[in-house]
């Protein structure tokens, strides 16, 4: 089991205290492609921020790779995230000051387990996997949305993380690009043994995932 979440409750204090997640529990196996769907406002993003360790302000317990997330210091958590979790957002945000290759290299340069030459080599291989090799030297802001999302997926993969979390990764893309991106994510699970959790509205995606969960008003439908 790569991820175990038990009875997660999430409250927001703004504008008044209200509960957004109600006793959400889920388990994700290694190599699984899990998709979560649900109406807008049902709490998908909120859950994914918690699962990806960005948001630690919740009740309940979360274990990733058997590590209790709540016991980690902020600094240790940053390192943990750097090593084990890749994150892909709806708006595929790349850093405009850096070119495509550098954007992909940044998490690995922080991880600092390999020389920059090795990292560059890995990054180019990943760019090839996502079909973007010829754009390596291009400033990241000079790419289309679909292209940027592919680069963002490569960036999420550079440290060879166990878990990839994607919040509506195709939300901004047309059907053709949606297919490309989804196929990529599926390939990652099936060929590289990665675990992927996707939040999505797209029926084609959740129908083609290994497993699908539905969220209704902050609760996981059983």
């Amino acid at each position: 089991m790569i991820l175990q979440a038990q009875e997660i409750n999430k409250f927001f204090k703004d504008p008044e205290r209200h509960q957004v997640l109600h006793k959400v529990s889920l388990e994700v196996k290694k190599g699984e492609l899990l998709s979560i769907y649900g109406e807008s406002g049902s709490g998908k993003s909120t859950l994914l921020y918690i699962l990806s360790t960005l948001d630690t302000d919740f009740k309940g317990s979360l274990h990733i790779k058997d590590q209790d997330i709540k016991t980690l210091s902020p600094l240790a958590l940053t390192d943990f995230r750097n090593q084990y979790i890749g994150f892909v957002y709806q708006f595929h945000y790349l850093l405009p000051e850096f070119n495509v290759l550098q954007n992909i290299m940044l998490p690995a340069m922080k991880f600092a387990q390999k020389s920059n030459e090795e990292i560059k080599h890995d990054a180019l291989l990943l760019l090839e996997d996502v079909g973007m090799k010829e754009f390596a030297k291009r400033p990241s802001y000079k790419l289309s949305g679909g292209q940027q999302q592919r680069v963002a997926i490569a960036r999420a993969l550079i440290n060879d993380p166990a878990l990839i979390i994607a919040d509506e990764p195709t939300g901004n893309l047309d059907q053709k690009n949606t297919d490309i991106v989804f196929d990529l994510l599926k390939e990652i699970t099936e060929e590289k043994g990665k675990t992927v959790v996707i939040a999505t509205h797209n029926s084609k995606i959740y129908k083609n995932s290994h497993r699908t969960l539905e969220m209704i008003d902050g609760s996981m439908r059983l």
């Binding site: 993003s45 921020y49 090593q83 709806q90 000051e97 940044l106 998490p107 340069m109 960036r155 440290n159």
Partner: protein, 405 residues
Amino acid sequence: MSKSIFNKTNVFIALQYLSARKKQSFLATLGVMLGVTTFIVMINFMTGVNDFLDDAVFNGSPDIIIKPEQKTTSAKKTFGTRILSLKNIEELDIFLRNQENIQAFAHQVISPAILVSDTQQLPGSINGVFPSEENLMVEIERRLIQGKGFQSLDNENAIVLGVSLAKRLQVSVGDELKMILPNGKSRQLQVAGIFSFGITTIDNVRTYFSAKTLQKLLGQDNAVTAVHIKLKDRDNVDIKTRISQNFKDTIVEDWKDSNKTIVIGNKVRDILTWSVSFALLLVAGFGIYNILNITVIQKRKDIAVLKTIGYSSKDIVFIFLIQSMIIGLIGAFFGVVLGYVLSYMISITPLDTSDFIIVDTYPINFKVIYYLLGFSFGLLTTILAGYFPSKKASKVDPVTIIRGI
């Protein structure tokens, strides 16, 4: 995991951000450079002048002067004929010899006199000194431009005088000079040495002559008109009150009383240097603060992304702080270089002798400490200016930002 926040990657990211804003970065660097340059040039110049004046004035004049108090009634009687002498000289000597803080003291016999050369006739005063005593007070050798110093005064007819006075009298070493004293006695003298302290107030009036001979000519064998004292620690003038208490009928002045304008001038120059430099560095620092602050606001999304991909708050602080440090280092470095070049150029610029000081070029200090100080100030300003925006950047909450993207 990378162990230290000071690593290649963070520096690389910082450089990338800097070069993405070349123009702003350049202007910020320029600001720091000007601040540091101004500081260095000003401090070199101001302390150069201060040190020059200190050296000339405080070596040329004593730390403490003891004079007899002039009683108005007796003044009328003695005027024109007899000079006013200190009383109880032997007791005073014993007292002074037993004081901790006194390095040396010297008796002075000063009388008004008229000096007559072949072409000129000038009223002035003649300063009788005891060569062995005066040698401990004034480093005359260092000031001589012609002839000999105090040892020449063993010759009864020798006179040593300031360069401006010599010029006015149109005499040089070896020339004859006649001295006429208030009691009518006169004496033919020979110029034995000419000195320059570099300041008009001394070079224009100061003469040295044998005290013994002067006493004889005046017919007041043991008259001493003043005692000059050189202190070990010049800032401690406690001795002043002790002398006045123990010896009535004396006036005791310290160097601060005698050189009020110079002491004030030094203070003014110090204040000016520090305040102008501080103001300039403040402006430069504010520029950097502004640039980084705007960047942090504009780059909140980037910071959020960096955090999600594994950069810690400390990394973020460092990435932004290093940007201001790079600006600071480069600016301060060129500031030091330019500061040196400008100081050097001022130091070789010929100068018309002013009314106050007599020099060929401005006295400029080239102390290494000022360059280190300027460099440190520049760097410190930028680090301070960069710290607050950097701290702000590190506080960006990635979830809030990413929700909004």
